[in-house]
């Protein structure tokens, strides 16, 4: 297995980074490009930029935000929000994305994933899956986790594990798996969901929603995550990426060391 990727997430609204709890009550956290660069300097392995209001407002991701982040950053950038068709993805890649994360549109038209993979390759296509735990029996939701679209506002009576499997069959090369129940709550990743999706697919999984500590991240890795995404703990300065990596290494989780030319022959 590769070193686990530590991925700060920038939820963007109107060109500013915001963060809420369970996708609601969004508060300003700063400038996307400045935050992204700070995280790269701390050792972030990748950055995710999600335009959290694009699809609910019926528009595409703001290209200027993506271009501003790209101009500063020399680690990979995944961009999601408002990707409805192949042209939206092409415009984001042109502006500076390296991977595109598709959510609502892929559920409406799963063939979009196939089309994106045929043009850009599966390694460029991320399916962003927001899941909500269901205690009561709900038709079509056998795993106990239901897919929710439109930035966590609309449950679609679709089983999250079954959708993960179909999305991969159709061409997605990575799953960004967010537990809505845990988002912003700092109560740890939803490990049962992670294990269920891990057993269903063999593409990389990015765990998202609930991180408060390196211990939570180590738990997610042991449940099958290849990368761990977090927002609140980084934005609010509880942990730097570097501190997280040091703590993870102490917990026996492999992380990427910083590059020093002097150390290498």
């Amino acid at each position: 297995m590769l070193p686990v990727r530590i991925i700060p997430c920038l939820d963007v609204r109107d060109g500013r980074v915001v963060k809420g709890v369970r996708f609601r009550g969004l508060e300003d956290q700063g400038d996307p490009a400045a935050l992204a660069l700070a995280y790269e300097e701390q050792g972030a392995d990748e950055v995710v930029v999600l335009d959290v209001t694009a699809t609910p407002e019926g528009r595409g991701t703001r290209l200027d935000t993506v271009a501003a982040v790209r101009a500063r950053l020399s680690v990979p950038v995944t961009v999601g929000g408002g990707i409805g068709e192949i042209g939206d993805a092409a415009a984001l890649l042109e502006a500076g994305a390296d991977k595109v994360a598709v959510n609502t549109a892929a559920l409406r038209r799963p063939a979009l994933l196939t089309d994106l993979a045929a043009r850009f390759g599966s390694q460029c296509v991320v399916v962003s899956l927001d899941a909500l735990a269901r205690r009561e029996d709900r038709p079509g939701v056998d795993s106990g986790y239901e897919v929710v679209v439109l930035s966590g506002t609309k449950p679609v009576a679709r089983d999250a594990v079954a959708w993960a499997r179909e999305a991969v069959e159709r061409g997605a090369g990575e799953i960004l798996l967010t537990s809505i129940d845990r988002d912003g709550t700092r109560s740890g990743y939803e490990l049962t969901l992670l294990r269920a999706v891990r057993s269903a697919v063999c593409v990389p999984i990015v765990a998202s929603g609930g991180a408060d500590s390196p211990q939570h991240m180590a738990d997610a890795v042991r449940a099958g995550a290849d990368a761990v995404l977090a927002a609140s703990i980084f934005h609010q300065g509880n942990w730097t990426v570097e501190e997280v990596k040091g703590a993870l290494a102490a917990l026996g989780v492999s992380v990427r060391p910083g590059y020093s030319e002097a150390r290498t022959p």
């Binding site: 590769l2 070193p3 990727r5 890649l93 043009r119 990575e174 063999c202 290849d226 590059y259």
Partner: protein
């Protein structure tokens, strides 16, 4: 940083993460220029063939602009050329990703796919992996580089210096022949490691 601001020409294949490549060189103080013009490709001081995309689609884009001969010729003549990810794979003879589609064939080799789910290895390979250059390599350093690939070469072509990496077995992370370099990983996305590599290539 290099003193005289070299110009880097980037082939526009319409499937690549073009902005990442362009801004990567801009941050090193280069002038950058994206093109699909055959004259530009032939005349470029330093040329980058970038790569995100599917083998067949990218090859089609190159062929539709009539760039194949110009690319082959500059690589044969040892003019500074950097193929990134799919851009390295396109230098090979062909790929299992697109049977019947020919690569540029500047070296012998068929790009193969990872077996999906083999002993817990995820496919695509997505993330940072440790690359180990042959002792004679002058451009590719040792260190962690960012990969995003489902296909790879496993055999070092004759006449090229190999850079090795492990992922469900040994594979070619890069090849070097003078100032011609093919990288399976993405130097433009590999942070300080990538900057060191690109700086050496600009000086080669």
């Amino acid at each position: 940083m290099t003193a005289c601001a070299p110009t880097v020409t980037v082939v526009r294949t319409s499937t690549a993460n073009l902005a990442s490549v362009l801004t990567g060189f801009e941050r090193l103080g280069c002038r950058v220029h994206a093109t699909d013009d055959v004259g530009d490709v032939a005349a470029a001081e330093r040329l980058v063939l970038p790569g995100v995309g599917a083998f067949a689609a990218a090859q089609r884009a190159i062929a539709s602009h009539g760039l194949e001969d110009a690319l082959r010729e500059r690589i044969e003549r040892g003019r500074p050329t950097l193929g990134i990810c799919l851009g390295m794979q396109l230098m090979a003879t062909g790929s299992e990703e697109a049977s019947g589609v020919c690569g540029l064939g500047v070296f012998e080799g068929v790009v193969g796919g990872y077996e999906s789910g083999e002993e817990g290895w995820r496919v695509p390979q997505m993330g940072w992996n440790l690359v180990s250059p042959d002792a004679r390599c002058e451009i590719v350093p040792r260190g962690y580089a960012y990969f995003a690939n489902s296909y790879r070469l496993e055999v070092a072509p004759d006449g090229w210096l190999p850079v090795w990496c492990e992922y469900a077995g040994r594979f070619l992370a890069a090849v070097e022949r003078g100032p011609v370099v093919g990288c399976q990983f993405h130097p433009e996305l590999s942070g300080d490691y990538g900057k060191a590599l690109l700086t050496r290539w600009l000086e080669a």
